[in-house]
Amino acid sequence: MSASTNNLQAKSPVLHKRGETLIWHFLRNALLCIGIVLIVMPMWLVLINSFKTLEEASQSFFALPRSVNLDNVHELLNGQNYFHHVGNSLLVTVVSMTVVAIFIPMVSYAIARNMRRRYYKFLYTYIMLGLFIPSQIVLLPIVKQMASLNMMNIWGLILLYITFSLTRGVFLFVNYIRVLPIEIEEAAQIDGCTVVQTYFRIVIHLIKPMISTLVIMDALWFWNDFQLPLFLLNRSRDLWTLPLFQYNFKTEYSFDYPMAFTAYLISLLPMLVVYCFCQKYIISGLTAGAVKS
């Protein structure tokens, strides 16, 4: 509410009572501070303890490491196929994400602008059935299904991600597109644009903020997902994505926890690098959307 309130305070003489604002700011800052401590603290502990030996960590869990000791990192990168698992995760995420980001907005556009026709009404309801279906009821039979199709592999996983992302994606996009004014598209069509041209020249620009939301949400899901790879790929070590690597690492290094912390830290690094770009993209995307509407 208050981003706009702040704007108001700059341009409007009507202000909230001072006491009210002070209380609100106090509560807000307290909430944000508690949140930040809760979020940063475990990450900080991971960071400092991954540089310690087991002995040092058990003596002083909270203290800074005596030295920046990279032995754990070396051991991890040499001993485990870390880069292989990063490669698997990367392949799954990039391929699934590209298909989803192109495919879902177009499908949703087709549905949103044809809601009066029987087929599209049916298709929307049909895809929305997914909102009512828990993942378990799909996951158990799909394991048997994929096994019989000989697709218990990375490509099978990608196909399932594309399919499973439909419900949420179409739900978000159809509701977003339906409230967009249709007049611009009608004008384009009167000027002779086909549906496909209208989509790529006009609609795609209007739905950009939603596309960035979809890309962020689904890319994170594909990259971090644990359940589907566990069901599909856990049997062959070669196919492990990063989360499976982390999960199985737990059993191998259950006592050497500085080593486990190092594994988590190193597994987080690719995401941290990407995060800088994503964060900018989200914020600019959302602001652009807000300005247009």
Binding site: M1, S2, A3, S4, T5, N6, S12, V14, H16, T21, R28, L31, L38, I39, M41, L45, F61, F62, M106, V107, A110, R113, N114, L123, Y126, I127, L129, G130, L131, F132, P134, S135, Q136, I137, V138, L140, P141, I142, Q145, I162, T163, L166, L172, N175, Q189, T194, V195, T213, M217, W223, N224, F226, P243, Y247, L268, M271, L272, I283, L286, G289
Partner: protein, 294 residues
Amino acid sequence: MRKKGFNMDRASFFIITLPALLLYSFFYIYSVILGFYYSMTDWDGLARSFNFIGLDNFKKLLGNKAFFSSVTITFRYALLMVVFTIVLGVLLAVSLNSVKRFKTFFKSVFFFPAMISSVAIALIWDQVFIRALPALGNMFGVENIASPLGNKQTALYAVLFVNMWQSLAMPTVIFIAGLQSIPDELYESALIDGASMFDQFRFVTLPYLVPTITVNAILTLKSGITSFDYAKALTNGGPARSTMLVGIKIYIDAFGETPKFSIANAESVMLFVVIAVLSIVQISISSRSGVNNT
């Protein structure tokens, strides 16, 4: 000529939707139907042949105490998660949206948990509970603080806490997007009418957020009821089955040491019925209020 162009458009619309229809039918709906079918067999998941036994699995489950307690635990877990997500998510979104200095920094930090895999988070918190809590206790002179995950009274809430720690970021981002779609003029006129900050929140922000709240509530409820990752990595259902969420129970029944694949399918069918009913109720409630209902 115009008529022909019109048909071209209809054809393109149809072709665009076709792959979605086929994929969704084969890898989603067909699997669900298979799940229903398996739930009415006695298949253990490995044998080459199995028999159709009708509703026997369901009859067995309805009298099964372990299944019933699993369902209760799951509901408590999911409902608490929805409440916390909506309340904290809206509060956090409003707060983050109103911060002037370090806005990007705050947003980056609060969104960070959503970047990490649930497994890593679960295992990190597991270590924090085991190593940091006793050490913290010592600092404040309290002896023998054990990990809440080891206690059957607290384990479920500890798992929920870890789950929330990560899953709050996504709804918050959606709430922020919802907040930014509210026209400034509404706040302006509310202010001129003498509305307090709380009034503005109550009568401008909240009604506009109703569609967003609905989306988030549905997604959260679904993810709470089907929650799997955190309990799997943290407790695997224990101690004393206190975190035996239905998702975990289904996994153990389907692929555990003594596989009961058809029973696991029957459990997911019942989970499906519950989720379907809940979602219908929730959608019909939420669509009655709010400015965007048509």
